[in-house]
Symmetry: C2
Subunit: 138 residues, 2 copies
Amino acid sequence: MSFALDPRLAADTHAIGALPFSELLLMDDARFPWLILVPRIAGARELIDLDEGDQRLLLGEIDRVARVLDELLHPDKLNIAALGNVVPQLHVHVIARFTGDAAWPNPVWGRGERVAYGERERAARIAVLRAALGGETA
Amino acid sequence: MSFALDPRLAADTHAIGALPFSELLLMDDARFPWLILVPRIAGARELIDLDEGDQRLLLGEIDRVARVLDELLHPDKLNIAALGNVVPQLHVHVIARFTGDAAWPNPVWGRGERVAYGERERAARIAVLRAALGGETA
């Protein structure tokens, strides 16, 4: 079995790039700066499905992406979560939260309607993120 | 500054024990098997506030606790999250989810009213968790 991105994740996101261990996606919801990491491990559903080495690779990429959001946006809080109740393929949300955002202080999932990015806004956000990640996205 | 558990976390939970790096708490909500890890690092709010070594210690304890819930309860999904929008002290939720539970498929936060454990039910759950964690809780 080879890795394939879950079609629901693919439909709701835009690709930012391939980190060494994970695909990095932008959730297509302009209300929140919301990234998703998907380890390229076929069949993984849970963090505990990864061995220790792979867990550490994922942790390193979570840390890197969270720092990029923190440095670019100075959010009031970061939300980091592996839930998967709807899409069981292992994926980790890294979201920059602000006290005035559309869901605060609640989590973002299932709150109101997603607001798709405009094309130029989306391209700009992806460009900024790619630049901040430097040569790390392929 | 020395570590002290946030009073809101203390009020909503019962202590299971002290893991080597984190305090392990049981959320006092009988609707969900819901554990919380709180690293004993004074002032930490975000995962990225921890250095790499401490992040790995936390990851190892998340993995251990998630495996215990998985082995004891065989949940349909694990939810693992560091949010902190209400209580900013760094804490990680590890929750066993079932397709028939009170919030499924939504996240548990802010869904319905918390249902406190009865005293005997709570004591039994804590005893089972302590036994499963073996000598790891002090």
